[in-house]
């Protein structure tokens, strides 16, 4: 193949028209098109000569053996999902939610058409392209019909494990998770707007839900009734139950820039605190509460006696806050929090560390490794952070469809999952840390265009007893 006469500018010193004296300074690349050294070391015109050189070179090129095209990774044969044991050994729940645990009957309760969701097997034949559960975790039956916004497990006061999930389909659903991994839908409640957050009371008898309809409700599981307990002027984004020695209340954070505390028996809040901006996420571990707002606001509250603002903290992150989770020290006192942003980064921040510059740090996560390819690195938002109740290690889930486990004391990553085909929007641990639940559903990170209402949403359960053990410090 003859290459056309190369352009005037180019790598070759000759073709660049450099005077003889300067030619020796530059490389000799006879042909800008091929980019290969022309092999001509003497001065001479470019053009024809280099074209000939190119054709000469062309014959060489095939000689240099190149590795075969990279073989596509072999796909593991598709296995039927096992309902593996989740490592639990707790007694069954005697009363409240034990009623009517027949599977099929309850599935119609939710009214969804996910009949094939039972047992977590995917019966559709498309084996190679189906990446909805690459980690082969247990699928929860009858998942919600729209994106899942929050997950929460029941407290230890309830025997057994119950999981609630709030979704953008305006509902909050409750399942019983049995030791053998089977999930049984139990009940559901509706709001008039998408549910953004949910939590349990400390005795496990009530579930509180916060919704875009500007209200929060208390769902009494014994009677299966839900009543409204809170009212805001904008969607309620966070809801937490506070159990202090001298009071109990529900804390709601809303996009109306207020944090309100409600005694569930009264229609007016016990206390209202102003936030600098819209509340984006919050966490409560008595006696500490951490609230992150828009515009990178970050406030810590102390809840003893009565809730009061403890400190406003300069954000350790430079991007929008998305999720926050409080961690405890060795004696089970809350001592700091992990804050996740939309920029694939989590900050570990202690409230009163001995050496803040050294103890507080941030780490990057949920990024595609684009360093050695021609594409820029993709940075995904961190959608949720959860701390293992026993080990103190943490899990993060991101828009990239992966979850990762980290040890913040050893500052290492313990594990990263395979990539799911949808973002992971929420996660939580059960009360003893044996189960890690994560929800696979679209979080709007790529905007409206990538929303596919037909795509199924999933909640997966994983045995978390082993994988989250801390690494020994070096």
């Amino acid at each position: 193949m003859r290459h056309p006469r190369p352009a005037a500018s180019g790598a070759c010193a000759v073709r660049r028209g450099l005077p003889r004296a300067q030619r020796s300074a530059g490389p000799w690349c006879g042909c800008a098109v091929c980019g290969e050294p022309c092999g001509e070391w003497g001065p001479g015109p470019g053009g024809a000569r280099s074209a000939r050189a190119a054709s000469r070179r062309f014959r060489w090129a095939p000689k240099r053996s190149r590795p075969a095209p990279v073989p596509s990774p072999a796909r593991p044969p598709r296995r039927r999902q096992r309902g593996g044991s989740l490592g639990m050994a707790l007694p069954r729940l005697p009363a409240v939610l034990a009623s009517a645990s027949a599977g099929p009957a309850r599935m119609s309760l939710f009214g969804s058409t996910s009949g094939f969701g039972t047992g977590g097997t995917s019966m559709f034949g498309s084996t190679t392209a189906d990446n909805h559960n690459p980690m082969k975790d247990i699928e929860v039956t009858s998942p919600p019909d729209d994106s899942i916004s929050c997950l929460a497990f029941s407290p230890p006061t309830l025997p057994g494990n119950f999981l609630i999930a709030g979704s953008w389909a305006n509902d909050v659903r409750c399942w019983e998770v049995q030791d053998n991994g089977q999930t049984i839908p139990k009940a559901q409640q509706m709001h008039t707007g998408p549910v953004l957050d949910g939590c349990w009371s400390d005795d496990g008898s009530k579930v509180f839900t916060a919704s875009c309809d500007k209200t929060a409700k208390m769902w009494d599981l014994n009677s299966n009734q839900a009543i409204q307990i809170a009212q805001h002027e904008a969607p309620v984004k966070t809801i937490h139950w506070i159990k202090a020695p001298n009071y109990s209340c529900v804390m709601t954070g809303s996009w109306d820039k207020t944090l309100k505390f409600w005694d569930t028996r009264s229609p007016t809040p016990m206390m209202t605190l102003q936030l600098p901006e819209r509340c984006y996420c919050a966490d409560v571990v008595h006696p500490m509460a951490a609230v992150a707002t828009a515009e990178r606001g970050l406030i810590v509250y102390q809840l003893e006696n009565q809730p009061s603002e403890f400190r406003r903290i300069e954000s350790p992150l430079k991007h929008q806050h998305r999720c926050v989770a409080i961690f405890k020290d060795k004696v089970n006192k809350p001592t700091g929090f992990a804050l996740g942003s939309i920029e694939g980064r989590v900050a570990i921040h202690y409230i009163n560390p001995p050496n803040p510059a050294k103890d507080n740090f941030t780490f990057k996560c949920h990024r595609s490794n684009g360093t050695n390819t021609s594409a820029p690195q993709d940075i995904y938002a961190v959608n949720g952070i959860a701390f293992h109740p026993v080990h103190g290690t943490l899990a993060t889930v991101g828009s990239d469809g992966r979850f990762s486990f980290w040890d913040k004391d050893a500052r290492t990553k313990l594990k990263t999952s395979e990539q799911l085909d949808q973002p992971i929007s929420a996660c939580c641990f059960n009360h003893n840390g044996n189960i890690f639940a994560y929800a696979s559903s679209y979080d709007w990170s790529k905007g409206h265009e990538f929303y596919n209402p037909q795509k199924k949403n999933y909640i997966f359960l994983r045995n978390a007893a082993e994988e989250l053990k801390p690494r020994n410090k070096k």
Binding site: C29, A61, P69, T215, E295, R312, H319, Q320, A381, T412
Partner: protein, 450 residues
């Protein structure tokens, strides 16, 4: 440097906008980063060269130059070192450089100052809290005197300052926050503390007045530029010290975000040990000595530098709404919609999710929130309170148009706009809910089955 005319001073890489000292280094960089085959790692000389190589040898097409910033990925353009760069990009670069040098010299001085006293703050505060307070308090008494003995003593003070001292006492409440920061930064300036308190009141008139004072004293400009920055922060301060309660440390100003009143507010309250100024945060994140996080590679430097610039933008654009994020850089791209609102806010704006919300006109802003009706009156289903006009969350379907005002919105049990009645265990309510229940079915069926 030999020749002055050096293609815009320093050679820079057209693909990724980086600066280099020498053209040779630039060429090496280009070969290693942009003209390197990703399959066999062979280093070519030019972009088209790389394309041809990949085509011939690996039978692969390549359409973008690796590691190039978006907009500069053209594989057809033959760029070698500084040659081949299109003229308009050269112009842009020249302009950018000029802007940068201006902005840099201003900002740099500012940031140097802030770095100084912030570092002092955090270093001192961690271990020596009581001691730190005292030296700062030591500065205050002299300042409290309207006479300000140091003022006449300060060399070359602009004559305008003493008259401004009258404005100092009103600023006094704001002083403590300024003082701790000022002294360390100001001391190197030759003890020019007085300008600090004097300048904030001068602020409105400052910019026009600046050039004259700036002229005589080269040492002043950095100060004066720091002052305007702190002034808005100071003006917000007076409420803060009163509000901030328990710690002995006075709150510290953050001159980094002069226009961010809200950011300043966010720093209210004792910030001592958790004080994490942006710059030093960036520094700490790029120097991970121990953190053995695998995610911590040297490539953080480029990302953190971009994030620094993005940080400045959100702060400055707080007033615009919604602010946009800077989502791309040479090596990374944020997978997030551009506006700086949360994903949930964005999604909640869609009509699809707003259909069932209570009508805005009936927002119970003033009304007492619909309380726990069921809880309050077990015997009665809670209809009476609702008939008082507590409508809120019920009128379910705007689409149906009917504001079922009188309807007891609280069917505790389920708010089933979608005809979903499963746990519709009518608890203790037998009578009253029935009629509305009777009204429901037509509505519900329209909503469709779940």
């Amino acid at each position: 440097m030999g020749r002055k005319k050096k293609k815009q001073l320093k050679p820079w890489c057209w693909y990724c906008n980086r600066d280099f000292d020498d053209e040779k280094i630039l060429i090496q960089h280009q070969k290693a980063k942009h003209f390197k085959c990703h399959i066999c790692h062979k280093k070519l000389y030019t972009g088209p060269g790389l394309a041809i190589h990949c085509m011939q040898v690996h039978k692969e097409t390549i359409d973008a130059v690796p590691n190039a910033i978006p907009g500069r990925t053209d594989i057809e353009l033959e760029i070698y070192g500084m040659e081949g760069i299109p003229e308009k990009d050269m112009e842009e670069r020249r302009r950018l450089l000029e802007q940068k040098t201006q902005a840099e010299s201003q900002k740099k001085k500012q940031q140097d100052d802030s770095d100084e006293y912030e570092d002092d703050e955090s270093a001192a505060s961690t271990s020596f809290q009581p001691q730190q307070v005292q030296p700062q308090q030591g500065y205050i008494p002299p300042m409290a005197q309207p006479g300000l003995p140091p003022v006449p003593g300060a060399p070359g003070m602009p004559p305008g300052i003493p008259p401004l001292m009258a404005g100092v006492p009103p600023m006094m409440p704001g002083m403590p926050p300024v003082m701790p920061g000022m002294p360390p930064g100001m001391m190197p300036m030759g003890g020019m503390m007085p300008p600090g308190p004097g300048i904030p009141p001068l602020m409105p008139g400052m910019p026009p007045g600046m050039p004259p004072p700036v002229g005589p004293r080269p040492g002043m400009p950095p100060m004066t530029q720091a002052q305007p920055a702190t002034a808005p922060g100071i003006l917000n301060r007076p409420p803060a010290p009163a509000a901030s309660a328990p710690t002995p440390q006075p709150p510290v100003t953050k001159p980094l975000f002069p226009s961010a009143g809200q950011a300043a507010a966010a720093v209210q309250g004792p910030v001592g040990t958790d004080f994490k100024p942006l710059n030093s945060t960036a520094a700490t994140t790029t120097e991970p000595p121990k953190p053995t996080f695998p995610a911590y590679t040297q490539s953080t430097t480029s990302t953190t530098s971009t994030t620094n610039s993005t940080a400045a933008k959100p702060a400055a654009s707080i007033t615009s709404k919604p602010a946009t994020l800077t989502t791309t850089s040479a090596t990374s791209k944020l997978i997030h919609p551009d506006e700086d609102i949360s994903l949930e806010e964005r999604r909640a704006q869609l009509p699809k999710y707003q259909r069932n919300l209570p009508r805005p006109g009936q927002a119970s802003l003033g009304n007492p929130p619909v309380g726990p009706i069921g809880g309050m009156m077990p015997p009665q289903p809670g209809i009476p309170p609702q008939q008082q006009g507590m409508r809120p969350p019920m009128p379910p379907h705007g689409q149906y148009g009917a504001h079922h005002q009188g309807m007891p919105g609280y069917l505790p049990g389920a708010m089933p706009p979608y005809g979903q009645g499963p746990p519709m265990v009518p608890p203790y309510q037998s009578g009253p809910p029935r009629p509305p229940m009777g009204m429901r079915p037509p509505v519900m069926s329209q909503g469709g089955r779940y």
